[in-house]
């Protein structure tokens, strides 16, 4: 079975349905990029996969021995975090919390894991720096390191490059790709479609519901894909 399987899932807030009837499976080791306009239900879908929102209808199933505490998540930054007094190490280490079980404090293994994650993302030197004083790109790396502490199997990223300059974005994409090459399945919401398609092997196009899902090659040939690549033609999902 797939790592994560959505069966006819509908998600929403109060009176609003943001994503309807989504069926999808995420396989181990794949790189899926989720595209769509603002308000098309991308972030909502990610929240549904993570269990932050309970489905109104349908089911989210976990397979291949994936447990709730083996999913990594890189959320969009909140305003509060930009002003939070915490060192890089404190933030990264907090990603190991889901492995502590009932233990109140971090053990040696959690610390090693945090060290490794910082090394892996090239932020070891920033260990004792204050999170809020880092550049946007560095902050995103810290959050990615924290997500990496929490998982070996599946990483969900919600617009990881929002607000970054092209250089920092590219570096982050390279890091994400190399994590994927090491076997971590990636599900990434992105507006930066060119760069995302370069690395991904599958594309999901959201428009309240799934309007396209398939490989990158299929996507490029599809109406959705052609639209975003600049050829507006009839029958595209975005014209609906």
């Amino acid at each position: 079975m797939a790592l994560l399987k959505l069966e006819g899932v509908s998600l929403g807030y109060e009176h609003l349905i943001a994503a309807q009837d989504v069926s999808l499976s995420i396989e181990a080791g794949e790189y899926l990029v989720v595209v769509g306009e603002n308000g098309s239900g991308k972030s909502t879908l990610i929240k549904g996969m993570l269990g932050l929102l309970h489905p109104r209808k349908g089911k989210v199933l976990m397979g291949e021995g994936l447990k709730k505490n083996q999913i990594g998540y890189m959320p969009q930054q909140s305003a509060m975090q930009r002003d939070f007094p915490a060192s890089v190490y404190e933030v990264v280490l907090s990603g190991c919390l889901n492995r502590c079980g009932l233990k109140p404090f971090y053990g040696g293994r959690a610390r090693t894991r945090a060290q490794y994650a910082m090394e892996r993302l090239g932020i070891r030197a920033l260990k004792d720096e204050c999170y809020r004083e880092l550049s946007g790109g560095q902050q995103q790396r810290v959050l990615l390191a924290r997500a990496l502490c929490a998982t070996e199997k599946l990483l969900l990223l919600d617009e990881p490059t929002a607000g970054l300059d092209p250089m920092a974005s590219q570096e982050l994409y390279n890091l994400i790709r190399s994590l994927n090459e090491e076997g971590v399945a990636i599900v990434m919401v992105s507006h930066d479609i060119g760069a995302a398609l370069h690395d991904a092997n599958r594309v999901l196009c959201m428009h309240k519901t799934v309007s396209f899902v398939g490989t990158v090659e299929e996507y490029m040939k599809s109406d959705c894909g052609r639209f975003l690549w600049g050829c507006r033609e009839e029958g595209c999902c975005h014209d609906r």
């Binding site: 269990g51 060192s87 404190e90 907090s94 919390l97 889901n98």
Partner: protein, 271 residues
């Protein structure tokens, strides 16, 4: 003068309870301020005022009645602000003014403002009896122990609740824990600071510490230290000038905040 202060039994009791409560308030305060829940302390203290006016009118022990009532109110506030139908700050105002109103009505029906009610409005740490002291010491010890035990989880939930929840941490439980500990601390602190001033004990040390320190752990430790020092300073000034304790502690905290801001501006070059 310190020796003279300590020669009074009521001063010793006040110092012991005050130190513990200041410590609790400062530790929880860091998390509450960062979570934008700072006014929760204020709201809960008003609920506490309502509860103890009723307790006094019915001749019950004020602390024993208000602790459970305020704990319930804390849960209620959390639920209300999560439901998103009413925003957090409005929810607090709603509950706090309602309970204040109940308190005022009960008080006036049962014989008007007496010394006890006045004491709870503005603090009366010196009038604590031994039973209050035991209860306060016991409860603050529990608050400190639980905070220590769940420190890392409280950090995770404060920094990023969604991440914590997404990766399998039961964030709701820790929010409830935080609300519970805050409720207990507020009720204990009301005796010392009074309904109207207790939130300063939660907010000031955290803000002062954040002016200078950049690591969560240091902020927490510094806030705890500041809180205890300011309490002693306030207590000493209050004793020597015969002015109310609660107000003196607030002014000590304000002075400390200004000092720390200055230090922060000079050393870190930020305003």
């Amino acid at each position: 003068m310190i020796a003279e202060m300590l020669s009074y039994g009521f001063m010793c009791r006040a110092l012991v309870v005050g130190t513990l409560v200041s410590l609790c308030a400062a530790l929880l305060g860091v998390s509450l301020v960062l979570k934008r829940y700072a006014m929760i302390g204020d709201g809960l203290s008003h609920v506490g005022f309502g509860a103890l006016s009723v307790a006094l009118a019915m001749n019950l022990s004020p602390l024993k009645v208000s602790v459970p009532v305020v704990v319930l109110a804390a849960f209620g506030l959390l639920r209300l602000s999560e439901s998103q139908r009413i925003k957090g700050d409005s929810a607090i105002a709603l509950i706090s003014t309602s309970s204040m109103a109940i308190g005022v009505i009960v008080t006036s029906l049962s014989g008007g403002m007496n010394v006890d009610v006045y004491g709870y409005m503005f603090g009366s740490i010196l009038s604590m009896n031994m039973e209050d002291v035991y209860l306060s010491v016991g409860l603050s010890a529990v608050v400190l122990f639980l905070f220590f035990l769940f420190y890392h989880r409280i950090f995770a939930v404060t920094f990023d609740e969604n991440f914590a929840r997404a990766t399998g941490i039961r964030a709701d439980r820790y929010n409830i824990l935080l609300a519970l500990l805050t409720a207990v601390t507020v009720v204990l602190g009301m005796r010392m600071m009074g309904t109207l001033l207790i939130s300063s004990l939660i907010i000031f040390p955290a803000l002062s510490a954040m002016r200078v320190f950049k690591r969560f752990l240091w902020v927490v430790l510094c806030a705890a230290l500041i809180s205890v020092l300011c309490f002693f300073a306030g207590m000493t000034v209050s004793f020597s000038l015969s002015i109310p304790t609660g107000a003196s502690v607030v002014i000590a905290n304000l002075t400390c905040y200004l000092l720390m801001s200055l230090v922060g501006t000079i050393t870190l070059g930020r305003g």
